[in-house]
Amino acid sequence: MAQATQAPVKNGEAPAAGDDRDPAANRLHGFSREELHGLLADMLLYRRFEEKAEEAYAIGRIGGFCHLHIGQEGLAAGAIKPLRADDLVITAYREHTQAIAKGIPPRAVMAELYGRVGGCSGGRGGSMHLFDTTVGFYGGHGIVGGQIPLGAGLAWAIRYRGGDQVCVCFMGDAAVNQGAFLESLNMSAVWQLPVIYVVENNGYGMGTAFSRVSVTEMEVRSGAYGIPAHTVNGQDVLETYRFFEGLAERVRGGAGPQFVNAITYRFRGHSMSDPVSGTYRSKEEVEAHLQGEDPITILRDRLMDAGLLAQEELETIDAAARAASEDAADFADASPQPDPSTLYDHVYAEINPHGRLFLDGRGGSHG
């Protein structure tokens, strides 16, 4: 059994959940009713958006690899929503909802999955390579661990320019076994870079439980470089939000690099070709998480318990999420494929006036 099923150890910074209801003031965990509805709406959007993507994949509108974040939405909302607009996020290939959380419009994300010009990467990147630098979202990287040094570099640039942004660099639990992890964390510590490394610890790298590829717990992986480790329950979006809110401020204030072990669970297969359960995790295990660990259900129930959410409000929010997802798919569908004449665009930013850049005898106009 992977560590994702352990009771998450809560970090000292986050106020304990559950005893913080203030119905008189219409608040929970310090969040206003409006904010709480906002977070629920965010997560529902992520969920409906990806369910839509799943459908679109099934009918061949989306191709290639497609890795759903379903089940892990608490982390997209909880870790990214507290950030400033000019903070930076970089991540791996399971990043649809993170992209939306950072501000890429669902339409642009869906159109990217469809490989259309309206996509945030112009249809050239696809599901694994979502980018929009105007909202500080730096991809979308497909080589496991590849984004870790890049995240350190984004943080380096912040420090170089004397800025007070932070860079949040997500990775999967399996990525910590890449050498890039050591090298990046060590450099971040030596240079005290404003970066928060977040492991989305869903317990598995494809079909491999973390406990099969590590004899230690995730928490101890950053200590070798002197980087403080934190564990947070990623299924509790309120706890996660407060935690990242505080942590980002501390990093902004010069606390140096941080390592967060965010406990979560993947409700779908690794990618579209991987069944939800069967080979490496039992039906029962998945079922237990679906029942008890759905970040959306958890928030919904807490809000309802606290009298902060009515059934019809929920339905309205969900309907909006579904509508936005439909709208995104419609937009994507209507967006044209990239113009074939652009095949050689953006291989190089600078087309030098001399010499040939493309050696295939085809990209002639460009080189």
Partner: protein
């Protein structure tokens, strides 16, 4: 055509997939030699990301079929180390795209070890997995990696295109005393073909004439063999007889077969999946102009991936990949046929 049997006689054949053929080769070699083991990501409990090692954990146990952490540099190096000690590791890269992380161990350890040790430390191992593009996997997952493995002496490289070649070449690679990269294709795994049931080994360095023809030679390797065969069939409808020479092994390279084909047709198109600059095709062109300059009636043309990272969008991807039309076009061009678009 197809893989020639090197075992002699009319061996019993079964029609199996390329995937099953690879599996059969590994089992064949693991049965006869305990020093052979398979290590890589998801090869054991998951039966392989592409199910190439299906059933092998059950058959050989976790001593010999081993799931690795996602640590390409480390596990490739570990396999080289095990080979230094005389074992015969089969190191699976889930795809060769991920093996850039391991390239230092491939080149600086595996390729150079025997030489720097004056012959004391052979590295009898295999690096295997799919190379090149599948469908819409985008830039980081769609790269043909041959050049990176063939440039440095010390490594051998084979690229089976059919199930029979998959079995015979992988078996030969496992038996070979040098590091051999076996580059497969995700899009080939489901291809079916006749494969000898019994022990089957194809010597490295023997090209295979997948189709004979007098008018033009399409020389190629790996999954592009199928594109070449399609192009040859299209050309046949225009009464152009193309021959398709599948190199199968890039190092050792069957120079004799190449020169024989050039001498026969005097016109050559090299087709490969990868990029042009310092690609395999560049080497073949150079070889032909060097050793068969006078046999050529036209410059050798190359058909390659467009010189761009692989785009995700379906239409752009199709444009970027070398296709049947481009091959037909190139063949017509080396034949100086009217109507050729230049």
């Amino acid at each position: 055509m197809g893989g020639s049997s090197w075992m002699g006689g009319a061996a019993p054949m079964a029609e199996i997939t390329y995937r099953e053929a690879l599996n059969a080769a590994m089992c064949q070699e693991m049965d006869r030699d305990d020093s052979v083991f398979l290590l890589g990501e998801e090869v054991a409990e998951y039966d392989g990301a592409y199910k190439v090692s299906r059933g092998m954990l059950a058959r050989y146990g976790d001593r010999r079929v081993v799931d690795s952490p996602i640590s390409e540099l480390g596990f490739a190096g570990l396999c080289v180390g095990a080979a230094m000690s005389g074992l015969r590791p089969i190191c699976e890269f889930m795809t060769f795209n991920f093996s850039f992380l391991a390239l230092d161990q491939v080149i600086n350890s595996a390729a150079k070890m025997l030489y720097m040790t004056n012959g004391q430390v052979p590295i009898p191992m295999v690096f295997r997995g799919p190379t090149g593009a599948a469908l819409q996997l985008s830039a980081q997952h769609s790269q043909a990696c041959e050049t990176y493995y063939v440039h440095a002496p010390g490594v051998k490289l084979v690229t089976p295109a059919t199930p029979a070649d998959a079995k015979g070449l992988l078996a030969a690679a496992i038996r070979d005393d040098d590091p051999v990269a076996v580059m497969e294709g995700e899009l080939l795994y489901n291809v079916r073909g006749e494969v000898p049931d019994e022990e089957y080994v194809i010597p490295l360095g023997v090209a295979d004439l997948k189709r004979a023809g007098d008018d033009v030679s399409i020389i190629t390797h790996g999954k592009m063999v199928h594109v070449a065969l399609q192009a040859a069939r299209a050309l046949a409808r225009e009464e152009i007889e193309a021959e398709v020479l599948d190199l199968r092994s890039l190092r050792p390279l069957d120079v004799d077969a190449i020169l024989a084909s050039v001498a026969k047709t005097n016109r050559v198109v090299y087709l490969e999946e990868g990029w042009p600059f310092a690609g395999v095709g560049a080497q073949i062109v150079s070889l032909i102009q060097d050793e068969a300059f006078d046999d050529l009636d036209a410059p050798v043309l190359r058909v390659t991936q467009a010189d761009v990272p692989m785009p995700y969008a379906k239409n752009l991807e199709q444009l970027a990949k070398p296709g049947v039309k481009a091959v037909v076009e190139a063949c017509r061009k080396v034949l100086y046929m009217p109507g050729t678009i230049t």
